[in-house]
């Protein structure tokens, strides 16, 4: 079969699946949700899966990922799993409220939706759709590219569950909320997560979003996250990705910011077969700050694609992008940063930076930082670098008695640290720091789990000493 045909095969399969099941599966939903699904599947039918002939997908070929056979379930498959063991979290001094998802569905156990003492609502999207229809009518599917993004339309058609958070006006959520999404099944899975996060005016939230796989089974996760940050609210968002080499993750995040708000997202990609992070930020009010950071450490034939689109609509906002990556063996990467400064967005400050280290001749990165500016009083800058480890620095370290292997590690770690140091929660930073070191030493397997199952005894790290702990 040709590339095109393979894509069409899965496309048709999914459309048929939708038609066959829509009356039985989605029947008890509010009417407008059903309408959205029907519009979305129609749109998906028109768009189809992206191909490398399309501008945004030129360097990310989905053919192989789309040509596998996947199972698509409409209800959770949580048999034979010790949920408590699976979702055990062991970051010391980092107390979080964990919301667990297994194979795309909220893990049964505690109440599906809880209202915390401060009024914050956290839990399953499936439940929230029924319980809070007025919130959904105001926010759900309102800031996604519902008319041109094939993965969003597909997700809107199928999505049943995901994370729902509503932080009321003025509430500062003290404990971080941690979404742990684990894939663990003995067949190939096609999963479609949908998350809706709303931060009311003057509120504050730290959200940690972990994507993990337990075994080596293939999976395709088409995840969509919508985040609304109302006036003067503050969001700190971390994405940790540690998936197996046969997994595909399309992670589309849409952030909508109102005046005076701050939103910071940090994607830490440690492992994965093919990962595409699409981050869209709309700065739709004055005095907004957006920080979009990422670090990626890839090897084998892994592929990472970070696409960032920042839309400066209003004046006096700032955005800052920093992505750093190390690619080893035959790994490939893409960075595409697009900042749009609209005519009205005077006094915009926007900076983009993408820096890469290629450790082999066969690793590659396509990087394209891009500014599109229509306002005349702005401060913008962009840059990208691709290089090898600094040979002068290597010799300097070795001349002090440090082995070549450790010198390389020190330099790689130092390179990644610039992004890691932007993690503002110290226990989380230390944990991620440790995972990055393990990853660079080749000791991080998917059994290490993102932030979980850190039961493996910490090895003596020769090059590490934290002065604050002494």
């Amino acid at each position: 079969m040709s590339k095109q045909n393979k894509n069409i095969a899965l496309k048709n399969k999914l459309i048929n699946l939708f038609e066959e099941n829509k009356n039985s599966i989605f029947k008890n939903e509010p009417q407008y949700i059903s309408n959205l699904r029907n519009q979305a599947i129609e749109k998906f039918y028109q768009l189809g899966f992206p191909t490398t002939k399309m501008e945004g997908w030129r360097n990310t070929d989905l053919t192989k990922a789309l040509s596998k056979n996947y199972n698509h379930f409409f209800s959770s498959k949580q048999n034979d799993v010790d949920v408590e063991e699976l979702f055990k979290c062991e970051i010391h001094d980092f107390d979080t409220d964990i919301v667990s998802f297994l194979n795309g569905f909220y893990v049964n156990g505690n109440s599906q939706l809880r209202t915390m003492s401060d009024g914050t609502i956290v839990g399953s999207l499936a439940k929230a759709i029924k319980q809070y229809p007025e919130i959904f009518e105001n926010y759900y599917n309102k800031n996604v590219q519902s008319d041109k993004n094939a993965f969003v339309t597909l997700n809107t058609a199928f999505a049943q569950d995901g994370l729902f958070i509503y932080v009321p006006d003025g509430v500062e959520v003290n404990k971080a909320i941690q979404m742990v999404s684990i894939i663990n099944h003995n067949e190939n899975l096609f999963i479609q997560n949908r998350n809706l996060i709303i931060l009311g005016k003057n509120s504050r939230l730290t959200l940690v979003h972990c994507d993990d796989s337990i075994n080596q089974q293939s999976s395709f996760n088409n995840s969509v996250t919508e985040i609304f940050v109302e006036e003067n609210a503050n969001l700190d968002h971390y994405k940790l990705q540690n998936l197996n080499n046969d997994s595909t993750l399309i992670n589309s995040t849409f952030v909508y910011q109102k005046a005076g708000s701050n939103a910071s997202t940090n994607s830490i990609t440690l492992n994965g077969g093919l990962i595409r992070n699409d981050t869209f930020v709309k700065l739709n009010g004055q005095m907004c700050d957006a920080n979009v950071y990422g670090v990626y450490l890839m090897d084998k034939t892994q592929h990472i694609d970070n696409h960032v689109f920042i839309d400066h609509v209003e004046p006096n906002c700032s955005s800052n992008e920093l992505f750093k990556g190390i690619l080893d063996e035959d790994a490939t990467g893409v960075f595409n940063g697009h900042v749009l400064v609209r005519r009205n967005a005077q006094k915009t400050r926007a900076f983009q930076s993408n820096k890469n280290i290629l450790l082999t001749d066969t690793a590659s990165i396509d990087t394209q930082p891009f500014l599109e500016i229509y306002a005349d009083d702005v401060k913008c800058g962009h840059g990208a670098t691709v290089g090898q480890l600094d040979t002068e620095a290597m010799f300097y370290l070795r001349s002090r008695g440090i082995t070549e292997a450790n010198a390389k590690l020190l330099l790689m770690y130092a390179f990644a640290a610039e992004v890691i140091n932007k993690i503002s929660i110290k226990p989380l930073r230390d944990r991620i720091d440790d995972m990055v070191k393990k990853r660079l030493r080749g000791e991080l397997s998917i059994c290490d789990k993102c932030v979980l199952h850190c039961g493996s005894p910490a090895k003596e790290i020769h090059f590490d000493i934290d002065m604050s702990k002494v």
């Binding site: 600094d390 040979t391 002068e392 620095a393 010799f395 300097y396 370290l397 070795r398 001349s399 002090r400 008695g401 440090i402 082995t403 070549e404 450790n406 010198a407 020190l410 330099l411 770690y413 130092a414 390179f415 640290a417 610039e418 003596e460 020769h462 090059f463 590490d464 000493i465 002065m467 002494v470």
Partner: protein, 252 residues
Amino acid sequence: MLLNIRNLHVSIEGKEIVKGLDLSVNNGEVHAIMGPNGTGKSTLALAIAGKGEYTITQGEIIYKGKNINNMPPEDRAREGIFLGFQYPVEIPGVSITNFMRTAINEHREYKGLPPISAPEFLAKMEDKKKLVEIQSKLTNRSVNEGFSGGEKKKNEIFQMAMLEPTLSILDETDSGLDIDALRVVANGVNKLRTKENAFVIITHYQRLLEYIVPDFVHVLYDGRIVKSGGKRLAVELEEKGYDWIKKEFEMN
């Protein structure tokens, strides 16, 4: 004999820079190497330290009785060779503390010793920082990043003090230093002198040699040592320049 270099030829990218150099250094000695620019002083230093691009095409470097021509730089360091760089490299993201702790532990592992304990390491840091009058905050910064010329050179001496080498080669450690920094650096070196360890000091100026008094002075010209003498030779060079040496060399 600690270091015995015989008929050394070193090329970089096919171009011969060191052309048949002989040098012997015994434990406890201080040797100064002087000479005009571009005559191979830094090449000699980097070849002894084991930099990859510096190919030894002829001759040998014997250190502690062993030929080290093909020894990797980290092993040379762990055998006690230290190079104070003319241009110390900036390494963003690596703190001096991490850097030194790693280096010391690698040295210890090589000798079959367990890693240094945190309190012992910190005490050593404090001790050696005083030696070169480094303010405490410097050690939490990235290696050489944003350091002034003087700070970089002090940091080289600090590293030398931490690693306690047997043979230290200081490549123009005095260049770019004001008189106060020069005195600090020289005092540091003098305090580290013992009967066991030796120094090879590469310099353009006699000034440093007023503080660190050498046992021998050598003049390097056109890739060879063309004249050797006692400390008075340095004074003579300062007064008369190198022209007479060049003439002498060309006549021979």
